[in-house]
């Protein structure tokens, strides 16, 4: 068993409300990612679960039992810190052994456990070194080993890959997924990197300014964002948002364009809306059943694809195109829109209006 649940977490630091009613439900054995920009309260949430943060409001439940007042040691959790927090005076071996020493395991048990985990993470040759003699990637593995050496109720990970270079990060992403699968344990993983969230998670909770915006599978969060903010935060290049309103069977843009009104929208005429269009649902190469007139603003070649910036009125649309696409800025063009995959948001509340009709 290893379920983690928080209910209405509240925490303020002086005048800053870090957490404002954070309620999460992490099922046993899941890879649960808390995603949000810096300052969203992700780390505070994790520290609250760990018992390192005194809460103003709310409760933490571990395996269904209220653990809000428990000290960290009693919660049976393991945590990987963003800056690893390896004990500088201790060898790698002693760092990894620390959770077992704290629990008074015999030295033969400790030796066996450290050996097992260090071979799993390929750090056997580092055991006699001290943290200062390790590279960033090695420190990261040791921090991971210190958490994985026990079988706690759940693993908490606070942006463990942020301080690694890109290549190593991609490698460790695969490795973490592999470890999660082989252990079958509960992971609560905090990150501001949406690629990590989308590629590793079973469940994603999107956090903003201490409030949960949406909880769902990566596909749900990407395909059916609950609001305009989630749509804008998840996805790269970011979703393009155009102000518009419905008028009979048409959508009329603030910039003067018109599109057929999508079948699934129920928004009444005249209500201010935002039309959300992802780069991959737009095209400058194909013809579609619906299109927007604009002019070429710029090209961003990214190797495997090129992002075409198209100016529609005063807005810039990001359009995904093949790397071979060419054009000169100022050139007039039509952008084909896949309206079945478009999103509509209420311009006032930012909430998605796409759900109802689909």
């Amino acid at each position: 068993m290893g379920t983690v649940a928080t209910h209405g977490l509240g925490k303020s630091f002086g005048k800053v409300q870090a957490l404002d009613g954070v309620t999460l439900d992490v099922p046993d054995g899941s890879f649960f990612v808390v995603l949000g920009p810096s300052g969203a309260g992700k780390t505070t949430t994790l520290r609250a679960i760990a018992g390192l943060e005194k809460l103003d409001a709310g409760s933490v439940h571990l395996d269904g039992r209220d653990a809000t007042g428990d000290p960290p040691a009693a919660r049976d959790l393991a945590m990987v810190f963003q800056n690893y927090a390896l004990y500088p005076r201790h060898t790698v071996y002693e760092n990894i052994a620390s959770p077992l020493r704290a629990r008074h395991c015999s030295s033969s048990e400790i030796a066996a456990a450290v050996e097992r985990i260090s071979s799993l993470l390929h750090i056997e040759r580092l055991l006699r070194r001290r943290p200062a003699q390790l590279s960033g990637g090695e420190m990261q593995r040791v921090a991971l080993a210190r958490a994985l050496v026990r079988s706690p109720r759940a693993f908490l990970m606070d942006e463990p890959l942020t301080n690694l270079d890109l290549k190593l990060r991609v490698e460790m992403r695969t490795e973490l997924t592999r470890i999660h699968r082989s252990l079958g344990a509960t992971f609560v993983y905090v990150t501001n990197d949406q690629v990590e969230a989308l590629s590793m998670a079973d469940q994603v909770a999107v956090l903003r300014e201490g409030r949960v915006q949406q909880v769902g599978t990566p596909t749900e969060v990407y395909e059916r964002p609950a609001n305009q903010w989630v749509a804008g935060f998840v996805g790269s290049p970011p979703i393009s948002l155009l102000a518009c309103h419905a008028e009979g069977d048409r959508l009329v843009g603030a910039e003067g364009w018109t599109l057929p009104r999508p079948r699934w929208t129920t928004a009444e005429d005249g209500r201010p809306l935002l039309l959300g269009l992802r780069a991959e649902d737009l095209s400058v190469e194909r013809r579609g059943n619906a299109s927007l007139p604009g002019e070429l603003y710029g090209l961003e070649p990214l190797g495997d694809r090129t992002v075409v910036d198209v100016r529609v009125g005063t807005e810039i649309l990001k359009v995904k195109a093949r790397p071979t696409v060419t054009g000169t800025p100022g050139e007039r063009l039509l952008v084909a829109v896949d309206l079945d995959r478009a999103h509509l948001f209420d311009a006032g509340t930012g909430l998605s209006l796409s759900e109802a009709g689909r």
Binding site: G51, Y87, R101, A132, R146
Partner: protein, 303 residues
């Protein structure tokens, strides 16, 4: 990024700024610089030199006119007199030195034992009105200690702490605790709190986490702080002379001062006891000099 103490306390000399470009490497000092430094050294060191010379001169050489710099007979009689009474047995001065060791040692230990955990708490926890509390603690050091000698004397008389080693220990501890808290807080701030967080998740209690993982990293800072507290207690004169009177309790500073003032002054004895008095602090500071320099600069650099 957080700097670990290991990285911050490099074994080599600590230098905050690159040396001025004017000072070229090696023997780059100008003649003028050397001359000025020599003058300064002579002026500063002459009293010390004279104290040492006087302590090993025979009494008639002490009063010799013109003064004898080199051609005097060396004697260690004065040093013997510091420790051994004229009739044999312990001298009163040696008792004073022992008192000084006890008073300075115990008050330093007390100030450290009280101040280090307090500094840790102020550094780690959200204490209500923390800045005001810290300012209040510091404010006790704003006035010259002499100001409170009379009130303390009157209070001590009521509770029977006059002419009592405990009285001196308490007052020195009271003066050193604020200093210890302030200096140690700087050191604790430098040690990332994550070590303790990690230790607590490993299964240690908060206090175990502090003792096992933070405290060892604070040792250089504690050494530096304790040396300063020790020097203050060891050198303190005003309270010692007001609050103690008997030879059994008196510490070394008032005891040495008491040697001056009779009809004849045994300058050799005064000088010898002064040397004996100065030596322990010099030796101690020399032994921990690495910690001292690292400690002072480490505590001074704020994140």
């Amino acid at each position: 990024m957080a700097v670990s103490v290991n990285e911050a306390v490099s074994p080599g000399p600590v230098r905050d700024h690159p040396p001025p470009a004017r000072r070229r490497s090696g023997r780059g000092r100008t003649v003028l610089e050397v001359a000025l430094l020599t003058v300064l050294a002579v002026v500063m060191l002459f009293p010390v030199l004279w104290m040492i010379e006087t302590s090993i001169k025979e009494n008639r050489d002490v009063y010799a006119v013109p003064a004898k710099f080199f051609d005097f007979k060396v004697t260690l009689d004065h040093y013997r007199d510091v420790f051994v009474a004229s009739g044999g047995g312990r001298s009163t001065l040696s008792v004073s030195f022992l008192n000084s060791v006890i008073v300075a040692g115990v008050s330093t230990v007390l100030a450290t034992v009280l101040g280090v955990p307090a500094a840790w708490a102020y550094s780690r926890f959200a204490v209500r009105a923390k800045k005001d509390q810290l300012f209040f603690i510091l404010s006790t050091r704003f006035m010259p200690p002499v100001v409170v000698v009379i009130p303390i004397f009157l209070m001590y008389r009521q509770v029977g702490l006059i002419d009592n080693a405990l009285g001196l220990i308490l007052i020195y501890t009271a003066f050193n605790v604020p200093f210890t808290i302030w200096m140690m807080k700087g050191f604790v701030d430098e040690v990332p709190a994550e070590y303790e967080d990690a230790a607590m998740l490993d299964g240690y209690t908060r206090l175990q986490a502090f003792r096992k993982f933070t405290l060892p990293l604070l040792v250089p800072g504690i050494a530096a702080t304790a040396v300063f507290a020790l020097i203050f207690s060891w050198n303190e004169f005003v309270f010692a002379i007001f609050l103690t009177s008997s030879d059994d309790v008196r510490t070394a500073p008032p005891a040495i001062a008491g040697l001056i003032g009779g009809t004849t002054v045994d300058w050799g004895l005064v000088a010898a006891s002064s040397v004996v008095f100065a030596l322990p602090v010099l030796v101690f500071a020399y032994l921990v000099r690495k910690h001292l320099v690292a400690g002072v600069t480490l505590g001074a650099v704020r994140r």
